[in-house]
Protein backbone atom coordinates (compact mmCIF):
# COMPACT_ATOMS: atom_id res chain seq x y z
CA UNK A 1 0.00 0.00 0.00
CA UNK A 2 1.39 3.38 -0.94
CA UNK A 3 0.39 6.52 0.86
CA UNK A 4 -0.30 9.83 -0.81
CA UNK A 5 1.66 12.79 0.54
CA UNK A 6 -1.46 13.98 2.31
CA UNK A 7 -1.89 10.63 4.06
CA UNK A 8 1.76 10.79 5.03
CA UNK A 9 1.23 14.17 6.70
CA UNK A 10 -1.84 12.87 8.53
CA UNK A 11 0.01 9.75 9.66
CA UNK A 12 2.98 11.84 10.80
CA UNK A 13 0.65 14.04 12.85
CA UNK A 14 -0.98 11.02 14.51
CA UNK A 15 2.43 9.49 15.22
CA UNK A 16 3.59 12.75 16.76
CA UNK A 17 0.45 12.88 18.93
CA UNK A 18 1.01 9.25 19.97
CA UNK A 19 4.54 9.99 21.13
CA UNK A 20 3.82 13.41 22.64
CA UNK A 21 3.84 12.37 26.34
CA UNK A 22 7.35 10.97 25.86
CA UNK A 23 8.58 14.22 24.29
CA UNK A 24 7.16 16.25 27.16
CA UNK A 25 8.67 13.78 29.65
CA UNK A 26 11.97 14.32 27.94
CA UNK A 27 11.62 18.13 28.06
CA UNK A 28 10.33 17.78 31.61
CA UNK A 29 7.28 19.98 31.07
CA UNK A 30 3.92 18.21 31.28
CA UNK A 31 1.98 21.43 30.59
CA UNK A 32 1.88 20.64 26.90
CA UNK A 33 0.42 17.16 27.46
CA UNK A 34 -2.54 18.81 29.20
CA UNK A 35 -2.89 21.42 26.48
CA UNK A 36 -2.79 18.87 23.67
CA UNK A 37 -5.20 16.60 25.57
CA UNK A 38 -7.64 19.53 25.65
CA UNK A 39 -7.10 20.12 21.93
CA UNK A 40 -7.78 16.45 21.15
CA UNK A 41 -11.03 16.48 23.13
CA UNK A 42 -12.15 19.60 21.29
CA UNK A 43 -11.12 17.90 18.05
CA UNK A 44 -13.43 14.96 18.91
CA UNK A 45 -16.32 17.37 19.46
CA UNK A 46 -15.46 19.30 16.27
CA UNK A 47 -15.23 16.04 14.28
CA UNK A 48 -18.72 15.09 15.38
CA UNK A 49 -20.01 18.55 14.49
CA UNK A 50 -18.39 18.31 11.08
CA UNK A 51 -20.63 15.35 10.27
CA UNK A 52 -23.50 17.85 10.52
CA UNK A 53 -21.91 21.00 9.08
CA UNK A 54 -19.34 19.77 6.61
CA UNK A 55 -21.07 16.68 5.28
CA UNK A 56 -24.72 17.29 6.09
CA UNK A 57 -24.96 21.06 5.56
CA UNK A 58 -26.74 21.41 8.91
CA UNK A 59 -25.20 24.44 10.62
CA UNK A 60 -25.88 23.52 14.24
CA UNK A 61 -24.94 26.42 16.51
CA UNK A 62 -25.48 24.62 19.80
CA UNK A 63 -23.12 21.71 19.74
CA UNK A 64 -21.28 22.70 22.91
CA UNK A 65 -24.48 21.94 24.82
CA UNK A 66 -23.94 18.20 24.27
CA UNK A 67 -20.36 18.47 25.48
CA UNK A 68 -21.76 20.19 28.56
CA UNK A 69 -24.41 17.49 29.06
CA UNK A 70 -21.79 14.74 28.99
CA UNK A 71 -19.57 16.67 31.38
CA UNK A 72 -22.41 17.40 33.79
CA UNK A 73 -23.24 13.70 34.02
CA UNK A 74 -19.75 13.12 35.42
CA UNK A 75 -19.99 16.19 37.65
CA UNK A 76 -23.40 15.28 39.05
CA UNK A 77 -22.41 11.63 39.56
CA UNK A 78 -19.31 12.61 41.51
CA UNK A 79 -21.28 15.20 43.47
CA UNK A 80 -23.80 12.61 44.72
CA UNK A 81 -21.08 10.08 45.42
CA UNK A 82 -19.33 12.58 47.68
CA UNK A 83 -22.31 14.38 49.23
CA UNK A 84 -24.76 11.49 49.68
CA UNK A 85 -22.39 8.52 49.64
CA UNK A 86 -23.97 6.98 46.56
CA UNK A 87 -20.90 4.96 45.60
CA UNK A 88 -22.11 3.46 42.34
CA UNK A 89 -22.33 6.97 40.89
CA UNK A 90 -18.53 7.11 40.95
CA UNK A 91 -18.35 4.11 38.63
CA UNK A 92 -16.80 5.37 35.40
CA UNK A 93 -18.64 2.89 33.21
CA UNK A 94 -22.00 3.88 34.61
CA UNK A 95 -21.07 7.55 34.23
CA UNK A 96 -19.98 6.93 30.66
CA UNK A 97 -23.14 5.00 29.82
CA UNK A 98 -25.29 7.79 31.25
CA UNK A 99 -23.22 10.50 29.52
CA UNK A 100 -23.84 8.80 26.17
CA UNK A 101 -27.47 8.00 26.89
CA UNK A 102 -28.44 11.44 28.17
CA UNK A 103 -26.67 13.30 25.37
CA UNK A 104 -28.30 10.98 22.82
CA UNK A 105 -31.77 11.60 24.27
CA UNK A 106 -31.17 15.37 24.42
CA UNK A 107 -29.89 15.33 20.82
CA UNK A 108 -32.92 13.33 19.72
CA UNK A 109 -35.29 15.84 21.32
CA UNK A 110 -33.50 18.93 20.02
CA UNK A 111 -32.92 17.40 16.60
CA UNK A 112 -36.51 16.23 16.17
CA UNK A 113 -37.77 19.80 16.59
CA UNK A 114 -34.90 21.76 15.01
CA UNK A 115 -34.64 19.69 11.84
CA UNK A 116 -38.13 20.77 10.87
CA UNK A 117 -36.59 24.15 10.08
CA UNK A 118 -34.08 25.21 7.45
CA UNK A 119 -31.21 27.63 6.96
CA UNK A 120 -30.99 30.54 9.35
CA UNK A 121 -33.91 29.23 11.36
CA UNK A 122 -32.03 26.01 12.04
CA UNK A 123 -28.95 27.97 13.16
CA UNK A 124 -31.06 30.04 15.52
CA UNK A 125 -33.16 27.26 16.99
CA UNK A 126 -30.16 25.07 17.78
CA UNK A 127 -28.54 28.08 19.41
CA UNK A 128 -31.73 28.71 21.39
CA UNK A 129 -31.84 25.13 22.67
CA UNK A 130 -28.23 25.27 23.78
CA UNK A 131 -28.95 28.54 25.60
CA UNK A 132 -31.88 26.79 27.30
CA UNK A 133 -29.52 24.12 28.61
CA UNK A 134 -27.01 26.80 29.56
CA UNK A 135 -29.60 28.69 31.59
CA UNK A 136 -30.90 25.58 33.26
CA UNK A 137 -27.33 24.80 34.39
CA UNK A 138 -26.98 28.39 35.62
CA UNK A 139 -30.29 28.12 37.44
CA UNK A 140 -29.76 24.90 39.39
CA UNK A 141 -28.28 25.97 42.73
CA UNK A 142 -27.74 22.39 43.91
CA UNK A 143 -25.17 21.79 41.21
CA UNK A 144 -23.26 25.00 41.73
CA UNK A 145 -25.25 27.30 39.38
CA UNK A 146 -22.89 29.90 37.85
CA UNK A 147 -19.84 28.59 39.65
CA UNK A 148 -20.07 25.05 38.34
CA UNK A 149 -19.05 21.86 40.09
CA UNK A 150 -15.59 20.77 41.12
CA UNK A 151 -14.92 17.11 40.45
CA UNK A 152 -13.06 15.83 43.49
CA UNK A 153 -12.29 12.46 42.01
CA UNK A 154 -12.06 11.37 38.41
CA UNK A 155 -14.28 8.59 37.05
CA UNK A 156 -13.38 5.24 38.61
CA UNK A 157 -12.66 2.82 35.78
CA UNK A 158 -12.32 -0.15 38.21
CA UNK A 159 -8.60 -0.61 37.72
CA UNK A 160 -8.73 -1.04 33.96
CA UNK A 161 -7.16 2.36 33.48
CA UNK A 162 -6.32 4.99 36.06
CA UNK A 163 -7.61 8.37 34.91
CA UNK A 164 -5.70 10.12 37.69
CA UNK A 165 -2.53 9.28 35.83
CA UNK A 166 -2.13 12.07 33.27
CA UNK A 167 -0.45 9.79 30.76
CA UNK A 168 -3.19 7.14 30.92
CA UNK A 169 -5.84 9.84 30.52
CA UNK A 170 -3.95 11.28 27.54
CA UNK A 171 -3.84 7.88 25.86
CA UNK A 172 -7.52 7.27 26.54
CA UNK A 173 -8.22 10.58 24.81
CA UNK A 174 -5.84 9.82 21.94
CA UNK A 175 -7.29 6.36 21.32
CA UNK A 176 -10.80 7.85 21.49
CA UNK A 177 -9.77 10.33 18.81
CA UNK A 178 -8.51 7.51 16.60
CA UNK A 179 -11.77 5.62 17.07
CA UNK A 180 -13.87 8.68 16.25
CA UNK A 181 -11.75 9.37 13.15
CA UNK A 182 -12.23 5.74 12.07
CA UNK A 183 -15.96 5.88 12.80
CA UNK A 184 -16.32 9.09 10.78
CA UNK A 185 -14.32 7.60 7.92
CA UNK A 186 -16.60 4.55 7.81
CA UNK A 187 -19.76 6.58 8.30
CA UNK A 188 -19.02 9.06 5.52
CA UNK A 189 -18.20 6.30 3.07
CA UNK A 190 -21.29 4.26 3.93
CA UNK A 191 -24.68 4.35 2.25
CA UNK A 192 -25.89 6.38 5.22
CA UNK A 193 -23.12 8.93 4.63
CA UNK A 194 -24.07 9.16 0.98
CA UNK A 195 -27.66 10.01 1.86
CA UNK A 196 -26.45 12.68 4.31
CA UNK A 197 -24.13 14.20 1.72
CA UNK A 198 -26.71 13.87 -1.02
CA UNK A 199 -29.31 15.69 1.07
CA UNK A 200 -26.87 18.55 1.44
CA UNK A 201 -26.18 18.99 -2.22
CA UNK A 202 -29.64 18.27 -3.61
CA UNK A 203 -32.51 17.53 -1.29
CA UNK A 204 -35.18 17.43 -4.00
CA UNK A 205 -33.27 14.78 -5.91
CA UNK A 206 -32.80 12.71 -2.75
CA UNK A 207 -36.54 12.76 -2.26
CA UNK A 208 -37.14 11.90 -5.88
CA UNK A 209 -35.08 8.75 -5.61
CA UNK A 210 -37.01 7.71 -2.54
CA UNK A 211 -35.12 8.88 0.53
CA UNK A 212 -36.70 10.97 3.24
CA UNK A 213 -33.78 13.12 4.43
CA UNK A 214 -35.39 13.94 7.79
CA UNK A 215 -34.79 10.49 9.35
CA UNK A 216 -31.21 10.38 8.12
CA UNK A 217 -30.50 13.90 9.29
CA UNK A 218 -31.98 13.14 12.70
CA UNK A 219 -29.84 10.02 12.98
CA UNK A 220 -26.73 12.04 12.09
CA UNK A 221 -27.75 14.67 14.65
CA UNK A 222 -28.07 12.03 17.38
CA UNK A 223 -24.74 10.40 16.45
CA UNK A 224 -22.99 13.78 16.51
CA UNK A 225 -24.63 14.74 19.81
CA UNK A 226 -23.65 11.44 21.43
CA UNK A 227 -20.02 11.76 20.36
CA UNK A 228 -19.99 15.32 21.68
CA UNK A 229 -21.38 13.95 24.96
CA UNK A 230 -18.48 11.52 25.04
CA UNK A 231 -16.11 14.46 24.52
CA UNK A 232 -17.81 16.05 27.52
CA UNK A 233 -17.16 12.94 29.62
CA UNK A 234 -13.45 13.22 28.76
CA UNK A 235 -13.39 16.98 29.27
CA UNK A 236 -14.87 16.74 32.77
CA UNK A 237 -12.20 14.22 33.74
CA UNK A 238 -9.40 16.30 32.25
CA UNK A 239 -10.48 19.61 33.83
CA UNK A 240 -11.74 18.16 37.16
CA UNK A 241 -14.42 20.78 36.76
CA UNK A 242 -17.70 21.45 34.96
CA UNK A 243 -19.46 24.79 34.58
CA UNK A 244 -22.31 26.26 32.57
CA UNK A 245 -19.72 28.19 30.57
CA UNK A 246 -18.94 24.94 28.69
CA UNK A 247 -22.39 25.20 27.10
CA UNK A 248 -22.39 28.92 26.30
CA UNK A 249 -23.19 29.72 22.67
CA UNK A 250 -19.72 31.19 22.14
CA UNK A 251 -18.25 27.72 22.92
CA UNK A 252 -20.38 26.35 20.10
CA UNK A 253 -19.00 29.17 17.97
CA UNK A 254 -15.47 28.06 18.86
CA UNK A 255 -16.24 24.54 17.58
CA UNK A 256 -17.48 25.96 14.28
CA UNK A 257 -14.34 28.13 14.04
CA UNK A 258 -12.25 24.97 14.44
CA UNK A 259 -14.08 23.28 11.59
CA UNK A 260 -13.67 26.36 9.44
CA UNK A 261 -9.99 26.80 10.27
CA UNK A 262 -9.31 23.16 9.48
CA UNK A 263 -11.36 22.84 6.35
CA UNK A 264 -14.87 21.42 6.20
CA UNK A 265 -14.64 18.99 3.39
CA UNK A 266 -12.00 16.72 4.86
CA UNK A 267 -11.96 14.01 7.50
CA UNK A 268 -8.92 15.37 9.33
CA UNK A 269 -9.95 19.03 8.95
CA UNK A 270 -11.47 19.47 12.43
CA UNK A 271 -8.35 17.97 14.03
CA UNK A 272 -6.11 20.45 12.20
CA UNK A 273 -8.62 23.18 13.01
CA UNK A 274 -8.63 22.41 16.74
CA UNK A 275 -4.82 22.39 16.72
CA UNK A 276 -4.70 25.65 14.76
CA UNK A 277 -7.30 27.33 17.00
CA UNK A 278 -5.58 26.61 20.31
CA UNK A 279 -2.08 27.08 18.93
CA UNK A 280 -3.11 30.49 17.55
CA UNK A 281 -4.55 31.37 20.94
CA UNK A 282 -1.30 30.34 22.64
CA UNK A 283 0.88 32.06 20.07
CA UNK A 284 -1.04 35.30 19.69
CA UNK A 285 -1.47 35.73 23.44
CA UNK A 286 2.28 35.40 23.93
CA UNK A 287 3.36 37.91 21.29
CA UNK A 288 6.31 39.59 23.03
CA UNK A 289 5.52 42.97 21.47
CA UNK A 290 4.81 46.08 23.53
CA UNK A 291 3.49 49.23 21.85
CA UNK A 292 3.19 52.36 23.98
CA UNK A 293 3.14 50.40 27.22
CA UNK A 294 0.47 48.03 25.95
CA UNK A 295 1.23 44.35 25.86
CA UNK A 296 -0.05 43.24 22.46
CA UNK A 297 -0.48 39.60 23.44
CA UNK A 298 -3.03 40.57 26.06
CA UNK A 299 -5.32 41.76 23.28
CA UNK A 300 -4.85 38.72 21.06
CA UNK A 301 -8.48 38.61 19.94
CA UNK A 302 -7.92 41.98 18.28
CA UNK A 303 -5.77 40.06 15.82
CA UNK A 304 -7.71 36.79 15.93
CA UNK A 305 -11.05 38.40 15.01
CA UNK A 306 -9.90 39.98 11.73
CA UNK A 307 -7.84 36.86 11.02
CA UNK A 308 -11.03 34.83 11.20
CA UNK A 309 -12.70 37.18 8.73
CA UNK A 310 -9.73 36.84 6.38
CA UNK A 311 -9.90 33.04 6.60
CA UNK A 312 -13.60 33.14 5.75
CA UNK A 313 -13.03 35.53 2.85
CA UNK A 314 -9.86 34.18 1.30
CA UNK A 315 -8.99 30.72 2.64
CA UNK A 316 -12.34 29.01 2.50
CA UNK A 317 -10.94 25.55 3.28
CA UNK A 318 -8.62 26.62 6.06
CA UNK A 319 -5.56 24.52 6.81
CA UNK A 320 -6.85 21.89 4.41
CA UNK A 321 -6.23 24.10 1.37
CA UNK A 322 -2.53 24.32 2.26
CA UNK A 323 -2.04 20.56 2.42
CA UNK A 324 -1.02 18.67 -0.71
CA UNK A 325 -3.82 17.20 -2.79
CA UNK A 326 -6.39 19.81 -1.75
CA UNK A 327 -9.45 19.99 -3.93
CA UNK A 328 -9.33 23.16 -5.99
CA UNK A 329 -12.23 25.53 -6.35
CA UNK A 330 -15.44 25.61 -4.32
Amino acid sequence: MTLSSRQLINTALLAFLALLPFFTDWVGDSFYTGLVARILILAIAALSLNLLIGYGGMVSFGHAAFVGVGAYVVGIGTFHAFEDGVDWMMNGYIQLAFALLVSAVVALTIGAISLRTRGVYFIMITMAFSQMLYFSAVGVETYGADDGLSIYSRSDMLGLIDLNDEKSLYYLIFVSLLLVLFLMHRLIGSAFGNVIRGSKSNEARMRAIGFSPYKYRLTAFVIAGTIAGYAGFLMANLNDFVSPDMMHWTRSGDLIIMILLGGMASLFGPLYGALAFLMLEELLSSIPLTIGGLHVGEYWQLIFGPLLILVVLYARNGVDSFLPGARKGS
Binding site: Y121, I125, T142, W249, I256, L294, I309, V312
Partner: protein, 309 residues
Protein backbone atom coordinates in the same frame (compact mmCIF):
# COMPACT_ATOMS: atom_id res chain seq x y z
CA UNK B 1 -51.17 39.01 43.52
CA UNK B 2 -49.85 42.52 43.72
CA UNK B 3 -51.53 44.56 40.97
CA UNK B 4 -49.29 47.60 41.28
CA UNK B 5 -46.24 45.40 40.93
CA UNK B 6 -47.83 43.74 37.94
CA UNK B 7 -48.47 47.13 36.31
CA UNK B 8 -44.88 48.16 36.93
CA UNK B 9 -43.59 44.90 35.51
CA UNK B 10 -45.78 45.26 32.43
CA UNK B 11 -44.30 48.71 31.83
CA UNK B 12 -40.81 47.27 32.31
CA UNK B 13 -41.76 44.55 29.85
CA UNK B 14 -42.76 47.16 27.26
CA UNK B 15 -39.52 49.00 27.90
CA UNK B 16 -37.41 45.86 27.31
CA UNK B 17 -39.61 44.93 24.35
CA UNK B 18 -39.13 48.31 22.69
CA UNK B 19 -35.36 48.17 23.19
CA UNK B 20 -35.40 44.74 21.60
CA UNK B 21 -37.50 46.09 18.76
CA UNK B 22 -34.94 48.82 17.99
CA UNK B 23 -32.29 46.12 17.66
CA UNK B 24 -34.52 43.65 15.88
CA UNK B 25 -35.76 46.16 13.29
CA UNK B 26 -32.26 46.76 11.94
CA UNK B 27 -31.28 43.12 12.14
CA UNK B 28 -34.41 41.80 10.49
CA UNK B 29 -34.01 44.29 7.60
CA UNK B 30 -30.42 43.24 7.04
CA UNK B 31 -31.51 39.62 7.28
CA UNK B 32 -34.52 40.02 5.03
CA UNK B 33 -33.06 42.26 2.33
CA UNK B 34 -29.48 41.10 2.13
CA UNK B 35 -30.01 37.54 3.36
CA UNK B 36 -27.17 38.19 5.76
CA UNK B 37 -26.70 36.84 9.28
CA UNK B 38 -25.04 39.59 11.28
CA UNK B 39 -23.98 38.46 14.75
CA UNK B 40 -22.04 41.71 15.20
CA UNK B 41 -25.28 43.68 15.54
CA UNK B 42 -24.90 43.44 19.31
CA UNK B 43 -21.48 45.05 19.02
CA UNK B 44 -23.05 48.13 17.41
CA UNK B 45 -25.43 48.27 20.38
CA UNK B 46 -22.43 48.13 22.69
CA UNK B 47 -20.64 50.84 20.71
CA UNK B 48 -23.75 53.02 21.02
CA UNK B 49 -23.54 52.77 24.80
CA UNK B 50 -19.78 53.43 24.90
CA UNK B 51 -19.97 56.36 22.46
CA UNK B 52 -22.78 57.88 24.49
CA UNK B 53 -20.85 57.48 27.74
CA UNK B 54 -17.84 59.21 26.16
CA UNK B 55 -19.79 62.02 24.50
CA UNK B 56 -21.80 62.60 27.67
CA UNK B 57 -18.53 62.86 29.56
CA UNK B 58 -17.16 65.40 27.06
CA UNK B 59 -20.22 67.59 26.74
CA UNK B 60 -21.63 67.13 30.22
CA UNK B 61 -25.09 66.55 28.79
CA UNK B 62 -26.78 63.20 28.17
CA UNK B 63 -29.05 64.62 25.49
CA UNK B 64 -26.24 66.17 23.43
CA UNK B 65 -24.21 62.98 23.96
CA UNK B 66 -27.11 60.92 22.66
CA UNK B 67 -27.57 63.17 19.64
CA UNK B 68 -23.88 62.87 18.78
CA UNK B 69 -23.96 59.09 19.25
CA UNK B 70 -26.55 58.40 16.55
CA UNK B 71 -24.56 59.75 13.57
CA UNK B 72 -21.38 58.24 15.04
CA UNK B 73 -22.86 54.74 15.13
CA UNK B 74 -24.40 55.30 11.69
CA UNK B 75 -20.95 56.08 10.30
CA UNK B 76 -19.42 53.13 12.14
CA UNK B 77 -22.09 50.85 10.65
CA UNK B 78 -21.40 52.17 7.14
CA UNK B 79 -17.66 51.65 7.59
CA UNK B 80 -18.14 48.08 8.88
CA UNK B 81 -20.44 47.35 5.96
CA UNK B 82 -18.00 48.65 3.37
CA UNK B 83 -14.85 47.16 4.89
CA UNK B 84 -15.96 43.75 6.09
CA UNK B 85 -19.52 42.73 5.28
CA UNK B 86 -20.08 43.79 1.69
CA UNK B 87 -18.23 40.81 0.26
CA UNK B 88 -20.19 38.40 2.45
CA UNK B 89 -23.66 38.88 0.96
CA UNK B 90 -23.03 36.28 -1.71
CA UNK B 91 -21.62 33.75 0.76
CA UNK B 92 -23.54 31.10 2.66
CA UNK B 93 -24.81 31.63 6.18
CA UNK B 94 -21.99 29.69 7.78
CA UNK B 95 -19.40 32.10 6.37
CA UNK B 96 -21.44 35.08 7.52
CA UNK B 97 -21.84 33.66 11.01
CA UNK B 98 -18.11 33.08 11.32
CA UNK B 99 -16.96 36.40 9.88
CA UNK B 100 -19.33 38.40 12.08
CA UNK B 101 -18.27 36.26 15.04
CA UNK B 102 -14.76 37.49 14.24
CA UNK B 103 -16.11 41.05 14.29
CA UNK B 104 -17.54 40.49 17.78
CA UNK B 105 -14.12 39.36 19.04
CA UNK B 106 -12.56 42.41 17.40
CA UNK B 107 -15.05 44.90 18.85
CA UNK B 108 -14.91 43.44 22.36
CA UNK B 109 -11.14 43.50 22.39
CA UNK B 110 -10.92 46.97 20.82
CA UNK B 111 -13.35 48.25 23.47
CA UNK B 112 -11.24 46.73 26.22
CA UNK B 113 -8.17 48.37 24.70
CA UNK B 114 -9.73 51.83 24.37
CA UNK B 115 -12.05 52.07 27.38
CA UNK B 116 -10.43 49.54 29.69
CA UNK B 117 -11.94 46.42 31.24
CA UNK B 118 -14.05 48.23 33.84
CA UNK B 119 -17.58 49.24 32.89
CA UNK B 120 -18.73 52.83 32.55
CA UNK B 121 -21.76 54.67 33.85
CA UNK B 122 -23.85 57.17 31.95
CA UNK B 123 -25.07 59.92 34.29
CA UNK B 124 -28.62 61.10 33.63
CA UNK B 125 -29.82 64.72 33.78
CA UNK B 126 -32.07 65.54 36.73
CA UNK B 127 -35.32 65.67 34.79
CA UNK B 128 -34.84 62.08 33.65
CA UNK B 129 -33.40 60.91 36.94
CA UNK B 130 -36.61 61.09 38.93
CA UNK B 131 -39.89 59.28 39.21
CA UNK B 132 -43.20 60.41 37.82
CA UNK B 133 -46.64 59.28 38.92
CA UNK B 134 -48.17 57.51 35.96
CA UNK B 135 -51.44 57.11 37.82
CA UNK B 136 -51.85 58.76 41.21
CA UNK B 137 -49.88 56.86 43.81
CA UNK B 138 -47.87 54.81 41.35
CA UNK B 139 -44.38 56.22 40.85
CA UNK B 140 -42.36 55.09 37.83
CA UNK B 141 -38.83 56.12 36.77
CA UNK B 142 -38.99 58.96 34.25
CA UNK B 143 -36.14 57.56 32.18
CA UNK B 144 -37.83 54.21 31.65
CA UNK B 145 -40.95 56.07 30.62
CA UNK B 146 -38.83 58.08 28.19
CA UNK B 147 -37.51 54.84 26.68
CA UNK B 148 -41.05 53.59 26.16
CA UNK B 149 -42.11 56.85 24.51
CA UNK B 150 -38.99 57.02 22.32
CA UNK B 151 -39.44 53.38 21.36
CA UNK B 152 -43.02 53.91 20.23
CA UNK B 153 -42.08 57.10 18.35
CA UNK B 154 -39.24 55.37 16.51
CA UNK B 155 -41.47 52.39 15.74
CA UNK B 156 -44.04 54.78 14.28
CA UNK B 157 -41.38 56.64 12.30
CA UNK B 158 -39.99 53.37 10.98
CA UNK B 159 -43.45 52.23 9.96
CA UNK B 160 -43.90 55.53 8.13
CA UNK B 161 -40.53 55.25 6.38
CA UNK B 162 -41.03 51.66 5.32
CA UNK B 163 -44.63 51.94 4.15
CA UNK B 164 -44.95 55.55 2.94
CA UNK B 165 -41.64 56.74 1.49
CA UNK B 166 -39.60 56.05 -1.63
CA UNK B 167 -36.78 54.62 0.47
CA UNK B 168 -39.24 52.33 2.22
CA UNK B 169 -40.61 51.20 -1.11
CA UNK B 170 -37.11 50.29 -2.26
CA UNK B 171 -36.48 48.46 1.03
CA UNK B 172 -39.63 46.41 0.64
CA UNK B 173 -38.87 45.74 -3.00
CA UNK B 174 -35.36 44.68 -2.02
CA UNK B 175 -36.76 42.28 0.53
CA UNK B 176 -39.03 40.55 -1.95
CA UNK B 177 -36.78 40.48 -5.01
CA UNK B 178 -33.23 41.75 -4.84
CA UNK B 179 -32.22 40.98 -8.40
CA UNK B 180 -35.28 42.62 -9.88
CA UNK B 181 -34.76 46.02 -8.29
CA UNK B 182 -31.12 45.84 -9.28
CA UNK B 183 -32.24 45.21 -12.84
CA UNK B 184 -34.59 48.19 -12.63
CA UNK B 185 -31.58 50.45 -12.20
CA UNK B 186 -31.56 50.98 -8.46
CA UNK B 187 -28.10 51.29 -6.92
CA UNK B 188 -28.51 48.29 -4.70
CA UNK B 189 -25.10 48.58 -3.05
CA UNK B 190 -25.89 52.07 -1.86
CA UNK B 191 -29.30 50.90 -0.65
CA UNK B 192 -27.71 48.04 1.32
CA UNK B 193 -25.16 50.39 2.87
CA UNK B 194 -27.89 52.87 3.84
CA UNK B 195 -30.07 50.15 5.35
CA UNK B 196 -27.12 48.77 7.28
CA UNK B 197 -26.26 52.24 8.58
CA UNK B 198 -29.87 52.80 9.58
CA UNK B 199 -29.93 49.47 11.42
CA UNK B 200 -26.67 50.39 13.13
CA UNK B 201 -28.08 53.74 14.26
CA UNK B 202 -31.16 52.00 15.69
CA UNK B 203 -28.92 49.52 17.53
CA UNK B 204 -26.86 52.45 18.81
CA UNK B 205 -30.04 54.17 20.00
CA UNK B 206 -31.00 51.02 21.90
CA UNK B 207 -27.50 50.86 23.38
CA UNK B 208 -27.42 54.46 24.56
CA UNK B 209 -30.85 54.07 26.16
CA UNK B 210 -29.93 50.79 27.85
CA UNK B 211 -26.62 52.24 29.07
CA UNK B 212 -27.98 54.28 32.00
CA UNK B 213 -30.17 51.38 33.23
CA UNK B 214 -27.77 48.49 32.85
CA UNK B 215 -24.08 49.11 33.05
CA UNK B 216 -21.99 49.93 30.01
CA UNK B 217 -19.66 46.97 29.77
CA UNK B 218 -17.89 44.63 27.38
CA UNK B 219 -20.06 41.74 26.28
CA UNK B 220 -23.31 43.66 26.88
CA UNK B 221 -24.07 43.20 23.20
CA UNK B 222 -23.94 39.43 23.23
CA UNK B 223 -26.65 38.63 25.74
CA UNK B 224 -29.06 41.03 24.06
CA UNK B 225 -28.04 39.77 20.61
CA UNK B 226 -29.36 36.32 21.44
CA UNK B 227 -32.65 37.82 22.64
CA UNK B 228 -32.85 39.85 19.43
CA UNK B 229 -32.27 36.77 17.31
CA UNK B 230 -35.06 35.04 19.19
CA UNK B 231 -37.29 38.03 18.45
CA UNK B 232 -36.67 38.11 14.71
CA UNK B 233 -36.97 34.36 14.37
CA UNK B 234 -40.29 34.33 16.21
CA UNK B 235 -41.49 37.35 14.24
CA UNK B 236 -40.44 35.95 10.88
CA UNK B 237 -37.19 37.08 9.31
CA UNK B 238 -37.54 40.26 7.27
CA UNK B 239 -40.83 41.34 8.78
CA UNK B 240 -40.80 44.64 10.72
CA UNK B 241 -44.34 44.02 11.94
CA UNK B 242 -43.37 40.56 13.13
CA UNK B 243 -40.30 41.99 14.85
CA UNK B 244 -42.44 44.55 16.68
CA UNK B 245 -45.03 42.07 17.92
CA UNK B 246 -42.44 39.45 18.85
CA UNK B 247 -40.27 42.04 20.63
CA UNK B 248 -43.14 43.24 22.83
CA UNK B 249 -44.19 39.63 23.46
CA UNK B 250 -40.67 38.59 24.49
CA UNK B 251 -40.19 41.72 26.60
CA UNK B 252 -43.43 41.10 28.49
CA UNK B 253 -42.96 37.36 28.94
CA UNK B 254 -39.39 37.72 30.11
CA UNK B 255 -40.01 40.57 32.55
CA UNK B 256 -43.38 39.54 33.93
CA UNK B 257 -42.37 35.88 33.95
CA UNK B 258 -39.25 36.53 35.99
CA UNK B 259 -41.16 38.34 38.71
CA UNK B 260 -44.29 36.20 38.88
CA UNK B 261 -43.22 32.71 37.88
CA UNK B 262 -41.96 31.84 41.39
CA UNK B 263 -45.43 32.64 42.80
CA UNK B 264 -47.19 30.68 40.09
CA UNK B 265 -44.90 27.68 40.48
CA UNK B 266 -45.43 27.82 44.21
CA UNK B 267 -49.08 27.02 43.64
CA UNK B 268 -48.44 23.83 41.70
CA UNK B 269 -45.11 22.54 43.03
CA UNK B 270 -43.73 21.93 46.51
CA UNK B 271 -42.14 25.21 47.60
CA UNK B 272 -38.63 23.74 47.78
CA UNK B 273 -38.80 22.53 44.18
CA UNK B 274 -40.45 25.74 43.04
CA UNK B 275 -37.71 27.88 44.55
CA UNK B 276 -35.03 25.85 42.77
CA UNK B 277 -36.80 25.55 39.44
CA UNK B 278 -38.15 29.10 39.07
CA UNK B 279 -34.96 30.96 38.10
CA UNK B 280 -33.99 28.30 35.56
CA UNK B 281 -37.45 28.07 34.04
CA UNK B 282 -37.94 31.84 33.84
CA UNK B 283 -34.73 32.32 31.89
CA UNK B 284 -35.69 29.42 29.64
CA UNK B 285 -39.22 30.60 28.94
CA UNK B 286 -38.50 32.70 25.86
CA UNK B 287 -36.44 29.90 24.34
CA UNK B 288 -39.29 27.50 25.00
CA UNK B 289 -41.60 29.97 23.28
CA UNK B 290 -39.27 30.13 20.29
CA UNK B 291 -38.99 26.35 20.06
CA UNK B 292 -42.78 26.13 20.26
CA UNK B 293 -43.35 28.76 17.56
CA UNK B 294 -40.81 27.18 15.21
CA UNK B 295 -42.17 23.69 15.82
CA UNK B 296 -45.60 24.91 14.70
CA UNK B 297 -44.61 27.60 12.18
CA UNK B 298 -41.06 26.94 10.95
CA UNK B 299 -40.98 30.37 9.22
CA UNK B 300 -41.97 32.40 12.27
CA UNK B 301 -45.25 34.17 12.98
CA UNK B 302 -45.21 36.64 10.07
CA UNK B 303 -43.10 35.27 7.23
CA UNK B 304 -42.86 38.14 4.71
CA UNK B 305 -44.08 37.27 1.25
CA UNK B 306 -41.42 36.52 -1.30
CA UNK B 307 -38.64 35.87 1.20
CA UNK B 308 -37.72 32.70 2.98
CA UNK B 309 -38.24 30.08 0.36
Amino acid sequence: MNWLLLLEQILNGFQLGLLLFLLAAGLTLVFGIMDMVNLAHGSLYMMGAYFCATFTGWTGSFLIGALLTLPAVFILGVVVEIVALRTLYARDHLDQVMATFGLILFFNEATRLIWGPIGLAIPLPDFLNQTVEIIPGVPYPAFRLAIIITGFLVAGLLYFIVSRTKLGMLIRAGASNRDMIGALGINIRLLFTLVFGLGAALAGLAGLMAGPILSVEIGMGESILILTLVVIVIGGIGSIKGAFIAAILIGLIDTVGRSFLPEILDLILPSQTAATAAPAISSMMIYLLMALVLAIKPQGLFPPKGVGQ
